[in-house]
Amino acid sequence: MSGKQREDCPDYKKDKKRVDGRKMDQLRPLSIKVGVLPNADGSAYLEWGQNKVYAAVHGPREALPKHTASPYKAVVKVQYRMATFSVPQRKQPRPNRRDMEISKVLAEALERVIFTEQFPNTEIAVFVEVVDSNAGSRVACLTAAACALADAGLPMKDLISATGCGKGFNEIILDLNKEEEDAPDAVDIPLAILPNSNEIALLQMDGLITKEEFNRAIQMGIKGCKDIYEIQKKALAEKFELTELTPAIAKAEVKGEKASATDAAKPSKTEKKEVKAKKVKK
């Protein structure tokens, strides 16, 4: 209930437009890029409105400390952290109750989609780092983490698409921003689904809402998740473009070598030639 008094608040039922100009069921602009961190097995970078999130996946690898390992399945460990500069007031870098809770719920959601029983005695470590945030960071993290897992080549049942939905300023809305989350009547429902089977992977709620409003919000959320799924699919496919190769492309990419069978046997001569050619150019 922080922030504005009820009288100063906008009324979405009258205005038909949200504070940032969006429609009631419109997402903030979302873009995802996969394979951004070379040292991780899989990674993704996501920008969702003002939210900026990095996700990295390591593993399956040996579970350490050893007592955490299970002989039946891989253990999914998630570390959710917010950078100190990701919020207006400096965030204490030590993991607080909220960080630990979000790490736990994200791990449980991701564990649902991975075929963990294929990797006994191992751990799958997922690190999500929020570098900028403006409401809905946990769903942003889950969306990015799902892409990073797929990028790591892990066998999965489905991707996870997540979005916030709920109520703010007297109307059911999709993908709440910080202002809407701080509305006096705000209800925030982070929702994550498996887009192909519509199973729910994560559902939390904060605030007071009627059953009818809740159902409407969830329906709106599922529709939003389907849109996010399309963006995730596109981001993953973008890394690999199905084009045909030609010898010319191969020669251009393996540059610096005018390769042929005879050259290969005498690399020193070709190198000398190249050095000479460079000198001439200069």
């Binding site: 989609v113 080549g153 993953l236 492309i249 070598e257 390769a259 069978a261 046997a265 005498k266």
Partner: protein
């Protein structure tokens, strides 16, 4: 038609034989991984584009000694867990960082592997690639491997765990070509592009000079000279490696036969 699929995406809604990396739910076939699928044919399968090495019986692998204890050696196979070789199983004494090669004899339910005929390899360099893409480096009936060997003049062992051991010849060129293949493994016309790059045809009769064995330490410069006077003694071991490796190559090509059929044509 080739198509890129993400985990959970529909591969086929018809009844088909199940290939790799798919699962069935409600009578339909879905992909497990990020990969490429072929719509035609009577097998529903996905060729993975990314992924770690999963030890499989019969694979030729290249390992690095990770730790030495009283009873034996822990070998890193680029997989989830180390493989253990007792000292009685090795003729040579190994140090940390030594490179060995061997064939996987047994994999237990924890995906821990046992190696058959572990052997130390001397000298050379290791090139690391994505493990799921190694079948493309071997090619159908070892066609790509043959091209790489003849095009660069290197001695090569391709481990299915994503490690390539190379010695002699033009290693710098090999590194670039391997990187290129790793990056473009899923594209069509890969073999013909590499043929064009080297200017030789796969599986064509090799020229006389390169059929000769090369001494292990023949560097690129002395390649031509030493090739004419092969050192039989020193290359015995290499020959043995190569026979093992080609067996592995056949298996690999069977697995990715569908994938490679275009290139062979």
């Amino acid at each position: 038609m080739k198509k890129i699929v993400v985990p959970g995406e529909l591969v086929s809604s018809e009844r088909k034989k199940l290939g790799g990396n798919v699962y069935v739910a409600n009578g339909k076939v879905y992909s497990k991984v990020l990969g490429i699928t072929e719509e035609e044919g009577d097998i529903a399968s996905v060729v993975a584009l990314e992924g770690k090495y999963m030890p499989t019986v019969g694979d030729v692998v290249i390992g690095v000694v990770n730790r030495v204890v009283f009873a034996g050696f822990g070998i890193n196979l680029n997989s989830f867990s180390d493989c253990f070789i007792p000292k009685s199983g090795m003729r040579e004494e190994l140090k940390q960082g030594d490179v060995i090669m061997g064939k996987i004899e047994y994999v237990n339910e924890m995906r821990e592997a046992d190696l058959e005929f572990p052997r130390k390899v001397f000298g050379g360099e290791i090139i690391q690639v994505t493990a799921v893409r190694t079948p493309r480096l071997i090619g159908k009936n070892g066609s790509m491997l043959d091209l790489l060997k003849r095009g660069t003049g290197c001695e090569l062992i391709i481990g299915k765990n994503g490690r390539i051991w190379a010695r002699g010849g033009n290693i710098e060129l090999l590194k670039k070509v391997v990187k290129f293949i790793d990056k473009n493994s899923y594209k069509s016309n890969l073999t013909s592009s590499i043929e064009g790059l080297f200017g030789i045809e796969a599986n064509s009769p090799a020229p006389q000079m390169q059929q000769e064995r090369v001494a292990p330490n023949a560097n690129a410069k002395g390649f031509a000279k030493k090739a004419q006077a092969p050192v039989a003694e020193a290359t015995k071991a290499t020959e043995e490696f190569e026979t093992i490796e080609i067996e592995g190559a056949d298996e690999a090509s069977n697995q990715s036969q569908k994938d490679d059929s275009e290139d062979a044509a």
